[in-house]
Symmetry: C2
């Protein structure tokens, strides 16, 4: 809980996550800074590559602020990537145009010897600098969000060496040598906790944990590799910075979203596009703020479907704490004017 | 319900789907015939390409029977592919080595003019011949399964022109021109109903509907593009062949599995690896047989994790009608001896 006398102007996102009635439904969009904006593509072209964009505060601040100049949103999310952690741990990470991330795969316990947290804060210093500059420049009712990948999802990239539709390499390791794999997970828990604490100290007011590949784990493994490491990580962050609200996003978890909300200590939960709204309202929203879950493809389409899907989300979730967002990130094909359309649809729900 | 006096020997799979107590837990595996078997790769090399393998009864029968020679399974699933329907409707479909299926994309209403059911049964005649030969050759307690892709999933491939992680092209059409997209869906409902009825007449005793990409639809769209077309399709099949049990597999549907089971008319439901077993036992298995849901990667791993995951599935689902299966298809990296290990683990649960 934040004490109200410390807050110069009410922040809708912080209010909802603290159990208070917000002045309006807080609204932000995953990947709100990104390739769908021409000004992003222009700034991007000034960086050597994608990592350079993340590590250059001047450019990262600029792309973070771009969507806020266009749209009436309630939060800025620092521009960065979930794979900065493996990079900072000493793994070779590259982003190749049109191919996505490519990492030197970490397979088995021996490969872990090359990874450590010694250079972590030095490597990630530009991210903290980005946050410091954003904290100074954001208008007061806007909330500054920091983030990281959850240990399981980051591990899937580290072990596979790239994005993988079935997480085969990480699962194979976790299944045949759970004790060895747990060394990697614990390294990620500790490194990510340090990273997030430093983000708070640099100005992040809310943290989001992205567990993009959690949904494909069988229930027992979901508990072991998604819930437990997330709970550990949140314990560490909250022990150091008790007031920071944390939103978790175990994408595709289905009914296991319920276990996740019970057991991880998150203050809010981001739901994917496919999750039943009625189920989420009944089983999640009574305990916690629910964030979501417009289909990014409805935002691409615009028009009738954008309105009707937005209406349905409000009809289902307006009775409890709700943060309006997408169910997954904005896709590059999104027409920027459809985002403006969405913002006005969301505001009209609050009579604004 | 099948009347018992017509059944020469009790078939565990048919019994479970008819609400009877089976002599043992029925067991089969999605993609039980496939690349993980060296004898499959040998037979595959005799065909010009993958479509030729599907359309040559002698070869398709052979690969269907291969896993049954190695393992004590309760069902054979005819060897074919969900994209034979677009091929039979006149769309250009090819399977390129290492690249997966490639189709001439159908985008918008005009492109539908090139598709029709006129040549359907002629094109699919080899599939029916495969089933006829299998029906003659299968040992009596074994059940013969036919299948098709569900309309939504087949449409995603037809519109995108290939597999697509976010089904962007199909969703874009469905969202901007639902009436036009519905023409494609209705064509698929009708063609698939005809195809499945012909499969029953050729000897298929159970049908499975694969809706691989259902889980990513928002709830309202899940109802419109997954549940409604599936319900239509099942109504048509059951009107013609009332006794055939149908298993549905809306992969990734999460809590919407409940709506699917209520509204489609399926006799059994196949659950994906990520679904909570406790939730499935409570919400699905009281109404219907539940099939699943071992992680295919646990089968790759073998050993302890294969045993413990199998045990957990039995612990959760043994109290109701249960068909043991994977939560998704066998992957090519699976060691064939691990399948033997799994069969013996499943049989030992029944004290066999």
């Amino acid at each position: 809980m934040i004490s109200e006398d410390k807050v110069p102007l009410r922040k809708p996102l912080l209010d909802v996550l603290s159990g208070l009635e917000p002045t309006r439904t807080p609204l932000w969009l995953m990947r709100q800074a990104g390739r769908y904006l021409p000004e992003y593509r222009q700034t991007r072209s000034k960086a050597r590559d994608f990592l350079d964009l993340c590590y250059t505060p001047e450019l990262a601040v600029e792309v973070t602020l771009q969507p806020l100049r266009r749209y009436d949103l309630d939060a800025a999310i620092m521009f960065a990537d979930i794979l900065l952690i493996p990079d900072a741990l000493g793994q070779n990470v590259a982003f190749r145009e049109g191919e996505g991330p490519v990492l030197e795969p970490v397979r088995g316990r021996d490969a872990l010897a090359g990874l450590n947290t010694e250079g972590l804060h030095q490597k990630l210093a530009p991210v903290y600098e980005t946050l410091r500059q954003l904290a100074q420049r954001l208008p007061p009712p806007m909330t500054l969000i920091g983030f990281a990948g959850a240990p399981w999802t980051v591990a899937t990239y580290m072990v596979e060496g790239r994005g993988s539709p079935n997480q085969a390499a990480a699962k194979s390791w976790a299944y045949t040598d759970p004790i060895g794999f747990d060394v990697l997970i614990q390294l990620l828990v500790d490194a990510t906790a340090e990273y997030l604490i430093a983000q708070v100290d640099a100005g992040a007011e809310v943290l989001q944990l992205f567990d993009t590949w959690a949904g494909n784990l069988p229930p027992s493994q979901f508990n072991r590799w998604c819930i437990q490491p997330t709970a550990d990580l949140i314990r560490q962050v909250k022990a150091a910075r008790p007031d920071v609200p944390i939103i978790g996003f175990p994408r595709g978890a289905g009914p296991l979203y319920g276990d996740y909300v019970e057991a991880t200590g998150v203050n809010g939960v981001s739901i994917d596009t496919g999750l039943s709204l009625a189920w989420a309202a009944k089983n999640l929203q009574k305990k916690i703020a629910v964030q979501g879950n417009l289909d990014p493809l409805a935002l691409v389409a615009g028009g009738d479907i954008l309105k009707s899907e937005t209406d349905k989300i409000f009809a289902a979730l307006a009775g409890g704490p709700h943060i309006f967002n997408l169910g997954h990130g904005i896709v590059p094909e999104t027409p920027p004017e459809h985002v403006a359309e969405l913002v006005s649809l969301v505001r009209s729900q609050d009579g604004q």
